[in-house]
Symmetry: C2
Subunit: 325 residues, 2 copies
């Protein structure tokens, strides 16, 4: 069995890794050993379920997106909830795919010659550019940083010991986060593989949330703080990443026939109980996640000769798992 196969197996067969107590830990064995108490339920209300038209072979294509929790990007996410509840995306399409960059969907808002803009529902709000960043609260009693996740709720920020090329890497509530390294006391969600963001026109427009994109390549961190991250694909990213690349201007499909129709996008809690997606993420302030990062940064299991000595923020995705009913 070749290395690459082993590496991939370690992503899909945690039990296999767990079975070998004597070998050095792998990211998968650490995740598999995490106690139930370190797994957090993702509320179905925070999941967007996108049904694409079946592929050429007739296979269904479902993409599940987790929306960021408060306080991040809530203005855009409010719009996204309104759009999903209105079924606004139903009948729109994935109209633009650029290799190592993004897959983008919606109605095209007139930019795509093959589609025309679609009127937005009422009460879609304009969101200010200031919402790209979030203030950080310093906890005087313990010196830790926090973000306020509700009127009387806060989440601790866990700063990463691993170097980031762009800012201070951190995690909060199951999400990778960047912190201002110049003492600005701000934090912002980051563009990693699978991140979902809000396409926009030129400043001061910040986009409504009607036109969304998912990152399908190397993390384009230069977009951080310049465009709103609203979530991440937790299942089915391959249905976007494998779409043919657009050959028209800016990677927009040259013809309508190339578009991938969107049958529907719904919030998870609006689906029938038996169709509601159930996912959990590994708490990012727990011992298991810290161990996961350490092992990602320094693989010592049998395949690896030379530990990397580091891991970048987007090369250690927060573990998310589907929970079978």
């Amino acid at each position: 069995m070749r290395f690459l196969s082993l590496a991939a197996i370690s992503l899909v067969l945690p039990a296999a890794a767990l079975a070998q107590d004597s070998v050095p830990p792998t990211p998968t064995s650490v995740i598999a050993a995490a106690p139930a108490a370190e797994w957090r339920t993702i509320p179905p209300a925070d999941l967007l379920v996108m049904e694409l038209a079946p592929d050429a072979a007739g296979r269904t294509r479902q993409v599940v997106i987790q929306l960021l929790p408060p306080p991040f990007s809530q203005g855009w996410i409010g719009n996204i909830r309104t759009l999903a509840q209105a079924g606004w995306w139903d009948g729109t399409s994935v109209y633009r795919v650029v290799d190592n960059w993004v897959a983008q969907w919606g109605a095209g808002e007139g930019e795509d010659p093959a589609t025309s803009a679609k009127p937005l529902p009422p009460d879609i709000m304009a969101v200010p550019e200031s919402a790209y960043i979030t203030p950080v609260e310093r906890g005087p009693e313990d010196g830790r940083d926090y973000v306020l996740t509700g009127p009387d709720r806060r989440e601790p920020i866990t700063v990463s010991r691993w170097i980031d090329s762009y800012a201070i890497g951190a995690h909060v509530a199951g999400w990778p986060l960047a912190l201002d390294s110049e003492g600005g006391g701000t934090a912002w969600p980051v563009h990693c593989y699978g991140a979902v963001g809000v396409a926009r026109d030129m400043s001061p427009d910040t986009g409504t949330g009607a036109e969304l994109y998912a990152v399908i390549g190397h993390a384009p961190r230069q977009l951080d703080r310049n465009i709103a991250v609203v979530g991440r694909v937790v299942e089915g990213i391959e249905h976007l990443a494998t779409l043919s690349r657009g050959t028209g201007e800016a990677g927009v499909y040259a013809t309508e026939a190339e578009h991938t129709p969107i049958l529907s996008i719904r919030l998870g809690d609006s689906l029938p109980a038996d169709a509601q997606p159930r996912f959990e993420y590994l708490a990012t302030d727990g011992a298991s996640f810290a161990a996961y990062l350490a092992v990602k940064a320094n693989r010592r299991d049998s395949f690896y000769l030379q530990p990397a000595g580091g891991v970048d923020l987007c090369n250690a995705p927060v573990p998310v798992r589907r929970v079978e009913m």
Copy 2:
């Protein structure tokens, strides 16, 4: 026109950016303004041309791979030249594709139940693990580091001023490179999007070069120094990145029917003159490449509100362009 469109346009229409002298530079405008003297020809002998079977719509699929120059990975690259000259890959297939990881091809060497191993040609050499890294020469007269590219030829290493999460980022002869940050005096090629590497069994096996993979996701830098990087895809990576993901063990296709047949893989200089691929790369020790990195790290053109303040080694691909005959 939306930002994402603008961003993509900037990747395909350098002339447009150049036309606007008054606006801040973009990566594309810097590349477009680079003098001819800073572009280096890639010898056709250093290019592998892979012809995949046409896609479902009958479109041809050509993938062009540039092989690393001396002194990097030359043992494996020697094997790869032997295999290409023998037409060894003709009739083999892309048999494994894992999302955000790799697309892998060859004969499967028996690991894939749907294919059987294929005998290798004679004079395929075993390469030692020591070849994963390359010694660096310090130039006493100028304090710069160099790698020996031939018996009487050396290339200067340009150390990046931008922080890397794994090592010291650098470039040499048009390639991204990592340098030992612990004074070991060694350098090694890195796994960025599009990098091509040699699949292997467990240590001390280092692979022959018959089973290759291309990175189709976020840079898996943990593979650096653990598996041989032999080149990079300079054109056609989308033909690998869009292939359906394997559902069998470790992402190997569950059925033979899912494989993508490889019609042929040839060295560029073995093709008829009019079919030989002509590419150039931007010199990485020149002023234009330094400016390109600086602009990638701090976009100040109209779309960007907040410059990133950094750029990781794999988020600033070395510019490569096709030269029309």
